[in-house]
């Protein structure tokens, strides 16, 4: 519930309003439940099956799914269990999505608070930079980064994806900082002689937590999509490892003979992205019903 508590733009009354609005949003609540189930499956799933994600089963090559079959979601042409591989891919996609979001939240919050708090020429140059980056086909730059600095290097992949996801965050955070810095408690902090870094860290950033949490929820599916996109192009996660994107890619190649290889990971990916989007939209509406 920490997110709902942090949603408060102003104390007590608005907070209860936000929580009520979130509770009334059945789509967002349902999404949260499904999401929790998916996360749980990603964590526990591989232990619920006797197969390893990279184990080959020569008896069952490209076996179709079936409730009584030994591989109930089928196998790929190498005899690897699709259920385990999908959950493994889900886990990897989630981890990369969340960590890359953390990177982009870090950059976005730092950039936005500094631009908004200092204002003037600093602000206009920093935000001009963001505008310029917004207009670029930055996924192409990510493609270059991913190809050039080692395919399958997950740390590099994380940085490359995280480095493009911070633009919206920086804009939102700057806007919030602009309105925050005119408030009395910031002035009071300044009057007590507190330095600028301390004001930013102790007074501005904690008050941004709600907004940041909402936009982070909306950034995660975006970055999961980027990662899957790169893996789909064969530039991200490499064999025998799997992410949802690389599984969809494998499935698309086999779609003529083994359509389940496409349908299973595609279904999981769609459910994941849809739930994150629904939850993020719900949180945003609860925080600020007029934004959209």
């Amino acid at each position: 519930m920490s997110e709902a508590q942090a949603l408060a733009p102003t104390p007590v009354r608005a907070r209860s309003g936000g929580r009520r609005r979130l509770r009334q949003n059945r789509a967002a609540l349902g999404a949260a439940v499904v999401l929790a189930a998916l996360v749980l499956l990603a964590i526990l799933g591989p232990w619920l099956s006797p197969y390893a994600y990279d184990a080959l089963d020569w008896q069952h090559l490209a076996a179709p799914p079936g409730l009584t079959a030994s591989h109930w979601l089928g196998t790929d042409p190498l005899g690897r269990d699709l259920y385990v591989r999908t959950l493994y891919g889900l886990r990897l996609s989630l981890v990369i999505g969340v960590l890359a979001t953390a990177v982009s939240v870090g950059i976005g919050v730092a950039w936005g608070t500094v631009a908004g708090y200092f204002g003037g020429r600093t602000d206009s140059w920093m935000m001009r930079t963001v505008d310029v980056l917004y207009a670029l086909p930055y996924l192409f730059v990510v493609i270059i980064l991913a190809t050039v600095f080692g395919r399958g290097n997950i740390a590099m992949l994380l940085l490359a994806i995280g480095a493009v996801g911070w633009l919206t965050m920086a804009r939102v955070v700057r806007g919030q900082t602009l309105s925050l810095k005119r408030r009395e408690f910031i002035e009071a902090a300044r009057a007590t002689g507190l330095g600028t870094p301390a004001i930013l860290l102790r007074h501005v950033i904690p008050n941004l937590a709600g907004t940041v949490a909402v936009y982070a929820t909306l950034t995660i599916p975006e970055l999961i999509t980027y990662e899957s996109f790169l893996s789909f192009l064969g530039l991200g996660v490499q064999e025998p490892h799997a992410s949802l994107g690389s599984l969809v890619n494998d499935g698309a190649r086999q779609m003529l003979t083994a359509p389940w290889m496409l349908l299973v990971p595609a279904g999981v990916l769609v459910a994941l992205l849809l739930c994150f989007n629904l939850l993020g939209d719900g949180l945003r509406d609860a925080l600020d019903p007029t934004a959209r």
């Binding site: 207009a135 192409f140 270059i144 599916p221 192009l233 698309a252 769609v270 849809l274 989007n277």
Partner: protein
């Protein structure tokens, strides 16, 4: 208006230069080069090749040389695809990519705006509910998921449309790629149009127009539509960016002979000039479409021009 347009066009040149500089140095700083083959070349052959393409000169000189060529409209020759100039490769692939991209943008706008308006006018009704739900789903679906799924359904299962490939002049091959790209963009436009019309309809000038006794259609078309279109128009720039990056996926999924595939191939092969050509092509296209969206915005909203 003309002054505004000129100022904006001049503003895109430095952005493009930054993009060119950035990608030039990032691709060259990476390990590996275009002539690293499985079978190593003899040092003499290697040196000759490097000398022929100017790769033995200092990086700064190479950069200035590239910019000089660029200023004369020369994108250089491909290092890997023998006898091909980058401009020639672009000329071959661009008609296909452009056809798919513009068909997708057109489809998204022509379906998205009316659907959004319809949903807003029937707020709370079944239409509104259906449009909102479909839009939420379509936005969540990335092109590399919808593409194969649509090919599976309409190509393999129903056999209505070709699964993949391209025949010049045959619009059947255009349908699935364009729909795949248009789905999320059209959904985003519909959602934005709905929200923005609802907001405009509750504005005081609309209430005034109603109070003057104007009919609902007149209020909508003469008063509410123009301001309500503003956010949608400003979204067209990012939408174009999405369509161009998406064309990469769509060209892979549907095996189209467009320009998108050169991006990945070129980067993997360290074919520097080819990658740079693609970056410049897509960068310029993105910037131009963003610019076009801004100009339409300035035309719709006179306040922007005078800032």
């Amino acid at each position: 208006m003309l002054g505004y347009a000129v100022r904006r066009i001049a503003g895109t040149v430095p952005v493009l230069l930054i993009l060119v500089t950035l990608s030039f140095f990032v691709t060259r700083l990476a390990p590996g080069g275009p002539f690293d083959e499985e079978r190593a070349l003899t040092p003499q052959v290697r040196a000759n090749l490097d000398h022929l393409y100017g790769l033995d000169r200092p990086l700064g000189v190479q950069y200035l040389h590239y910019l000089d060529g660029l200023a004369h409209g020369d994108l250089g020759v491909s290092y890997k695809l023998r006898d091909e100039s980058v401009a020639g490769l672009i000329a071959q692939g661009l008609p296909v990519s452009a056809a798919v991209g513009f068909a997708a943008l057109g489809l998204a706008t022509l379906c998205g705006i009316p659907l959004g308006l319809w949903a807003a006018l029937r707020r709370g009704g079944a239409v509104d509910y259906a449009v909102t739900a479909l839009a939420t789903l379509a936005i969540a679906l990335p092109a590399f998921v919808t593409g194969p799924l649509l090919a599976l359904l309409f190509g393999l299962a129903l056999r209505w449309l070709p699964v993949a490939g391209w025949q010049p002049g045959d619009p059947l091959y255009l349908i699935l790629p364009a729909v795949t790209l248009a789905l999320p963009v059209g959904a985003a436009i519909a959602r934005m149009m709905r929200g923005s019309l609802l907001e405009t309809l509750s504005a005081s000038f609309v209430r005034t127009a109603r109070a003057r006794g104007l009919g609902p259609w007149r209020v909508l078309l003469r008063h509410a539509l123009r301001p309500a279109l503003l956010p949608v128009v400003s979204y067209l720039g990012p939408a174009a960016t999405y369509v161009f990056t998406g064309s990469l996926v769509v060209e892979t999924v549907f095996a189209l002979p467009g320009t998108g595939r050169y991006m990945v191939e070129g980067a993997l092969d360290r074919d520097y000039t080819l990658v740079m050509g693609m970056i410049i092509l897509y960068g310029a296209l993105t910037l131009l479409l963003n610019l076009a969206a801004d100009l339409v915005y300035g035309w719709l909203d006179p306040r922007v021009r005078h800032e």
